[in-house]
């Protein structure tokens, strides 16, 4: 399964995931507390600098992920120019870009196992109350494993449809697709029980 962690090894990859998440929370709070455009421009420039530090491939990957925001940025700027309030539009757009950029930065420099470590730590109080969090970890593993499996089965269903019809499959394959998912779930449940259960 592909993850969004950057293959470019940065210094931030080694930092504790909990600390990065905490810093991200503080930074986002700060971003939403400041209204002056000058500060927002500085914050945005700082965020871009962080992307540029590990080198060009990292910067390009990061900017590529920010690109999904362009419809919102365009819409907001246009809206505020039309309502004669361009400064407010600039603040909103910059804040959005910086907040998403910083959050993506944490995702790009943190491995899935480290993130799971934070979840495990956060779930510790639940364990004290006798809840077994092992089933949560098993569920995560099942989703990671079965998403590509189901995607491949969906692909097979559309191919089978195409072999029989000249039209595209569209929504009609969703029903057999869901049946396949249900059957897989029943089989895996049986297999788990056969191996001693949870």
């Amino acid at each position: 399964m592909i993850s969004l962690t950057s293959p470019v090894e940065t210094r931030a990859h080694g930092w504790p995931a909990g600390a990065k998440l905490g810093a991200l929370c503080l930074a986002t709070l700060l971003l939403f507390g400041v209204e002056e455009p000058v500060w927002q421009i500085l914050f945005c420039a700082g965020m871009l600098l962080l992307y540029a530090l590990p080198g060009r491939p990292f910067l390009r990957a990061g900017l590529g992920r920010l690109w999904m925001l362009w419809p919102f940025v365009g819409l907001i700027l246009l809206w505020h120019v039309l309502t004669d309030d361009a400064e407010a539009g600039l603040v909103i757009a910059l804040r959005m870009i910086t907040a998403v950029g910083l959050a993506n930065l944490v995702t790009m420099t943190t491995k899935l196992t480290d993130m799971m470590g934070v979840v495990h730590w956060l779930a510790a109080p639940l364990r004290r109350f006798g809840l077994r969090t092992r089933s949560l970890e098993l569920a995560v593993a099942l989703v990671v494993r079965f998403t590509p499996v189901l995607a491949a089965k969906g692909q097979m269903l559309s191919l089978a449809w195409r072999a029989r019809s000249r039209r595209r499959a569209g929504w009609r394959v969703v029903m057999p697709f869901t049946v396949l998912a249900i059957d897989d779930a029943e089989h895996v449940a049986e297999a788990l029980r056969a191996r001693g259960g949870l």
Binding site: L75, A103, L142, V174
Partner: protein, 181 residues
């Protein structure tokens, strides 16, 4: 217990896999993905708790950094972007969908699934989605509603499909329709 766990996990995977189906475009140029159809199906098939947990698991994995959203998006950045409300609304929407499905047992499966998908999968999810837009883009309720209304026809179609699909599942796998068991 094992069955609950695997059903929740497999439906979370189903939402993700539905995001990989190429999107189709409505007549007036608005792209729609099958992902929110998956959220509706969680509620109509699994019921309130299991359906809500399946959608929650999906959202949690997006937060942990898996590219499970349509178009290969994911990670914490999604939670800072204007569409954050829809993502937060997914588990609650699935829960409400399942809750109505659980309660309204006198109605035929297809009708109950369609109506609960409209109320849970559209009304609740959009309430959160619009609130998210208000917060991130600094807009009023009316302005934020205006921004998202183009997507409502597509979601209404998906709610109708959720009704048809659920009634089909009730015939194909009656024992697995946990919302009615």
């Amino acid at each position: 217990m094992e069955r609950n766990l695997t059903m929740i996990a497999l439906f979370a995977a189903l939402i993700a896999a539905l995001g990989l189906i190429p999107k189709f475009t409505l007549g007036f140029g608005v792209p729609i993905t099958a992902q929110s159809l998956g959220v509706m199906l969680c509620g109509t098939v699994l019921g309130a708790w299991r359906g809500g947990l399946a959608a929650l698991l999906f959202v949690a994995l997006v937060a942990l950094g898996l590219p499970l959203l349509a178009g290969g998006r994911g990670g914490l950045g999604v939670f800072a972007s204007p569409t954050v409300g829809f993502l937060v609304g997914f588990p609650i929407g699935a829960f409400v969908t399942g809750f109505i499905m659980d309660q309204w047992r006198s109605a035929p499966v297809g009708l109950a699934a369609g109506v609960s998908a409209v109320l849970g999968g559209i009304l609740v999810v959009y309430a959160f989605g619009i609130f998210g837009m208000m917060m991130t883009l600094n807009k009023t309720l009316v302005e934020a509603t205006l921004l998202v209304q183009a997507f409502i026809p597509g979601d209404l179609i998906k709610a109708v499909l959720a009704g048809f699909i659920t009634s089909g599942l009730a015939k194909a796998r009656p024992a697995s329709l946990l919302s009615r068991s």
